[in-house]
Subunit: 240 residues, 6 copies
C-alpha cells in the first residue's frame, strides 16, 4: 500500500508543539500535525456559567474556528454569515468535553477556562490536532493560575488527554489521516484518550461501506499506538 | 443489578412503530421507544442542493427538533431563540448521514428527501429512536415515489438502517438506556448499523471515568443483539 | 349548498380533547378539530417577566409552532430559518391574549404559565383549535399548581375561553372551516369567546370582496352556536 | 362623559394629509391623526415575488416601523435588535392586506409596490393612520406609473380604503382613540373599510371584560361614520 | 466652475434647524441641509452601560437610520434584513464619538443619552447634518435634565460640535456637497469641529485618484469657513 | 520624550513581511508590525457581485477578524455572537477601499479577489498592518492569476498601497503607535497612501482634546516618512 505521503500505516505526521505562540493568553500553543496548523489558546476568566453558580467549582468551554482560507477553497467567514455551522459546533462540543475530562472541576474554584482553537491551515485532522495542542495550552494556563495563587484546592489536573484520527484507506488501517486520505477513506474514526490509555471519545463513521468489528479493533490499536507517541510529545513540550 | 425500569440488561424498551401517523407526508411514522416518542416524516421535493446540481443524483437531508415541553423542564423554543443549538445540529447531521447510508443516491434522480424528526416526548435515546423510525418512513416515501413513476433507475434502497444506545450503568453494560439510566451512566454509546450487521456510526463518550476496550466490546455486542430485534420490528411494521 | 365535508353549515367537525397526552407538562392536551391536530402543553415556571417583577402577580405567555410537514407542502423549519414568521407571531400573540382573559393574574402569585401549541397536522383552524385545547391544558396546570400548594390567593380561573372560525363559503355562512373551505372562503372570521357568551377577540378578513354588517352578524351567530358546543366539550373533557 | 381631548364621542381628531412630503418616492404622504404622524411612501419596483412569477400580475407589500423615540419612552431600534417584533409584523401584514384590497392586481403588470409606513410621532391609532395615509400615497404612485406608460391593462384602482379605530372608553363607544383613551379602553376595535362601506378587516380585542354584540354594533356604527369623513378627506387631498 | 446647484464653492446649502420637532423626546430637532432632512432626538435614560457602572459618570450613544425610501432607490429596511449594515454602524459610531466630545461625562451622573438620527430624505451629507442637528437636540435635552434637577455636578456642556463635508469636485474644492456632487467627487472629506475651531474628526477618502497635501489644506480651509457659519446657526436656533 | 518602546518619534516598529505563509491561498502573507501579527490572504474566485455583473470588470472585497485572544482580554468570538461588530465592519470597509485603489478593475476580468485579514496577536495598528501586508499578498495573487492565463487585458496593478498610524502622544507626534501609545494618545490618525505619495485615506480622531492644523500637518509628515520605508519593505519582500 502507498499512502500519498509515503508514511507507514502506523506513522504519525510530523508533530510540532510550540508553546507561548502568542503573548496575551494564559496558555498559547501552535500545534502542527504536518500541514495542519492550529492556534490553541486558553484564557482564564472569573465566574462560571449560570447553571454552576454558587457551587464552588469551575468550568471549561471551547470554541473552534477556521480562517476562511485555511482550506483549498475559501469558506465564507462564519462571523459574516451570522452563525456557526453544524460542523463547527460539533467540533467545539467535542473539544470541550474532551478537555473537561482532564480536570477535576471542584479544584478550580469559580473560574472559567476558555479554550479557543483556530485553524490557520487545514490538511485533515483539525479536531484531533486541536485537542492535542489545547491540552498543552491548558497545562500552561493552570501553571499561570497557580502562580497567581488561584489553586488553593490542589492540582485540578487529573490526566493528559490527546486525540488522533485513524481510518481505513484503500482497505488498510492507517494512523493520522491527512486531507487526501481523509477524503478518500472508507471509514474515519476520531479517538480521544487519556495518558493511561482509557477512551474518552470514540467517533467512527462509515463513509461508504459499513465497517466491521475487526476493522474497528484494528483502528483502535493504531490509535493507541499513536496516542502513546502524542503523550510523549506533549510531555516533552511541557518539559522545555 | 437493578435497572430502574426492571428490564434485563439486554432488553429493549417496548418499541412501537406506527405508520401513516399524519396524513400529508409521503412517509410518516410515530416511533416509540418506551416513553420516548418521535414523529418522523419524509417529504419528497424536486431538485437537489446546489453542490449536486446536474449530476443526476438525489439527496437526503434531516432536521431534528423537540417540542419545548418534551422534557422534564421546558426548553426555550429554538425558533424563538433564533437558532438551533449545537446538540440539535449534531443530532440532525447524524440522522442525515445514517439514512443516506441506506440509499443509492444515483437511483433517486434529482429529488431531495427531507427527513423531519420531532420529539414530542423525551425519555432518553431520542436520536436512535429517530433513526430507527425515520428509516421506516423513508421506505414508505420510496414506495410513494415509485407509485408516482419516479424510480425509473431501479430501487435506491440498499439496506435498512437502525440505531440504538448502549451504555455502562452501575458498572454493567445495558441496552437502550432510558433517561434515568442515561443521566447516571458512566459511558454512553450510540450505534447505527445496517441490517446485515455492519457499523455505520459508533459514537461513544465517557461521562466520568474513561472506558476500556473490553467495555467497548461488551457494549457493541449488546448493540448488535438489540439491532437484530429492531430490524425485525422495522420489517414487521413495513409488512403490515 | 354542499360543504366539501358534507357537514351542515352550522356543524362543527368532530372535536376530540385528549388530556394528559404527554407526561412531563403540568397540562398536556391533544386537541383535534377533524384532521387538525394540535399538542397543547402548559408549563409552570417560577418568576415573571421583568415588567411585572415585584407586583405579586403572575403571567401567561404563548408560543405556537407547526411541524414542517404538518401541511400539504413542507414548510421550512422556523428554527433553521432563524426566525419565526409573521403568521406565527400573530397567532401566538392571539393565543396569549385569549388565555390571559381566562385568569385573574393577581391570584397566581409570581409564576409564569408557558402555553405551547404545536400543530402536528393542519387542516384549517389551527389557531382556534389551539386556544380551545390549551384552555383545557391550562385548567389541568392550575389543578397541579393547587395541589402543590401554589394557589393561596384563591382560584385564578375566571372563566373558560374557546375559539372557532366562521366564514362565508360559496355565499353562505359556515361554522368551523376546514382547509378546503378556508382557502376558498370569501370571508374568514376568528372568534374567541367566554363561556358566558362575551367576545374576547373578533378578527374578520375579507379575502376578496368586502363583507357587510349582515354577513358579520350571521357569522357571529354561528360562532356563538359553535362556542356553546365547544364549552360543553371542554367541560366534559375536564370532568373525566 | 369627558374624553381627555374634549372631543365628542363621534368626533375624529384633526386629520391632515400632506402629499409629496418627501421627494424621491413615487408616492409620499405625511398623515396626521392629531398628534399621530406617519410618513407613508409607495415605491415602484420591477418584478414580483417568486410565488407570482410569470403570472402577469403585480403585488403590493407593506412594511411598518417606528422611530425609537416616536413614543413616550424610547423603544430599542428594531434594526439594532436584529429583528422586527410581533406587533410590527402584525401591523405590516394588516396594512398590506388592506391596501391589496384596493387594487386589481391583474392590471398592474409584473411590478411590486412597496408601502413603507414610518411613525415619527405616536399618539394612538398608528396602524389605522398608516392605512389611511398610505392609500393616498398609493394613488399618487399609480398616477406616476400611468405617466410612465406602465398601466396598459387599465386602471388597477378598484376602490379607496380607509381605516379607523373605535373603542369602548369609560363605558361609551368613541371614535378614533388617542393614546390616553387607548391605554384605558375596555375594548379596542380596528376597522378597515372600502369607500362604499364594505368591511375589509374588523379586529376587536377585549382588554379587560368581554364585550357584547350590542357594543360591537355601536362601535361599527361609529366606525362607518368616521370612515365616511376619512374618505372625503382622502378625496379632497387627492383633488388638490 | 459650475456646481449643479449653482452655489459658490464656499457656499453652504440652506440650513434649517427646527427645535421641538416631535413631542416626546427630551431633545428633538429636524435639521435640513438643503434637501437632506434628518430627525434628531435625544432621550434621557437612567443607568449606564456595564463597563461604566459605579463610576459616577454618564454616557452618550448614537444610532442612525434611514427610512427605506429616503433615497432615489428604495433600500431594504435594516430591521427586516435583521442587521444594520457597515455604513450605518460606521456613521453611528462617528456621531457618538463626535457628540461625546461636547460633554464632560463626569458631570452627567449615571445617565445615558440616546441620540437617534433618522434620515427621512437624503441628498448627500447625512452624517454631517446628523451631527450638526443632534448637537442642538443635545443642548435641549441637557436643559430638560437641568430642570428636572439632574445636573448637580455643574454644566456638562464643554463646547458645541458641528460637522460638514467638503470635497474636490471637477478639480475644485467645494463646501457641503449634495448628492450630485458627492457621487461625482474625486475626494470626499467629512470634518467635525468644535466651536473654537479644533478638529474632532477628519475623514478623507480618495474616490478615484489620490489627493495631495495642498488639496487637503484647501478642503480644511473650506470646512473651517463652513463650520463658523454652522455654529452661528446652531446658536441662533438655541437662542429662540 | 520617552516612547514606552524606546523608539525615536519617527521610528517604525520592526516590520516583517513573510510571503507564502499558508499554503492554500493564491496570496498569503504574515505581516508583523512589532508584536502586531496579521495573516493576510488573497483568494481568487470567478464571478463578481450582482451590481457588477456583465460589465466585464472585477472586484475586490475584504474581511477582517481577530482571534478571540489576540488581545489582552479575551473578546467574544464574532461567529458565536452571531454578528460582526461595528469596529470590524469599519475596518474591513477601510481595507477594501484602500486596496481597490491599487487596481484597475477593468483589467481583472469578471473575478473577485477576497482579502482576509486575521489578527492573531494585537498590539496596536492592526488595520494599517493589515493593509500593508495584504498589499503584498495581493501582488502574489495577481502573479498567480497571470500564470493561470487570467490577465489578458494587461496588468491591473496601478500602484502599491501602504498604511500606517500616527498620533500625538504626550504632546508629541509619533509614528506607528503600539497599544500602550494608542490607548494614551491624544490624537490618532490612520493614513493610507500610494507609493508615489498621494493620500487614499486620512482618518483622524481626537481622543480627548481637539487637534489643530499644525498637529495634523506634523502627523502627515511623519506618515509620509514612514510610508516611504514601508513601500521599500513591500518591494523588498516582493523581490525575494
Amino acid at each position: 500500500m502507498n499512502r500519498p505521503s509515503g508514511r507507514a500505516p502506523d506513522q504519525l505526521r510530523q508533530i510540532r508543539i510550540t508553546r507561548n505562540y502568542t503573548k496575551h493568553a494564559e496558555g498559547s500553543v501552535l500545534v502542527e500535525f504536518g500541514d495542519t496548523k492550529v492556534i490553541c489558546t486558553v484564557s482564564i476568566e472569573n465566574g462560571v456559567p449560570r447553571f454552576l453558580k454558587g457551587q464552588g467549582q469551575g468550568w471549561l468551554t471551547a470554541e473552534y474556528g477556521m480562517l476562511p482560507r485555511a482550506t483549498g477553497e475559501r469558506n465564507q467567514r462564519e462571523a459574516s454569515r451570522g452563525k456557526q455551522g453544524g460542523r463547527t459546533l460539533e467540533i467545539q462540543r467535542l473539544i470541550g468535553r474532551s478537555l473537561r475530562a482532564a480536570l477535576d472541576m471542584s479544584k478550580l474554584g469559580e473560574i472559567t477556562l476558555y479554550v479557543d482553537c483556530d485553524v490557520i491551515q487545514a490538511d485533515g485532522g483539525t479536531r484531533t490536532a486541536s485537542i492535542t495542542g489545547a491540552m498543552v495550552a491548558l497545562v500552561d494556563a493552570l501553571r499561570v493560575l497557580k502562580k497567581r495563587g488561584g489553586l488553593k484546592g490542589g492540582d485540578p489536573l487529573k490526566q493528559l488527554i490527546s486525540a488522533v484520527s485513524v481510518g481505513i484507506y484503500k482497505g488498510e488501517p492507517v494512523l493520522d489521516l491527512d486531507y487526501l486520505e481523509d477524503s478518500a477513506a472508507e471509514t474515519d474514526l476520531n479517538v480521544v484518550m487519556t495518558d493511561s490509555g482509557g477512551f474518552i471519545e470514540v467517533q467512527g463513521t462509515a463513509e461508504g461501506e459499513p465497517f466491521h468489528p475487526e476493522a474497528l479493533a484494528a483502528m483502535l490499536d493504531l490509535a493507541r499506538k499513536g496516542m502513546a507517541e502524542l503523550v510523549e510529545l506533549q510531555r516533552a513540550a511541557l518539559a522545555d
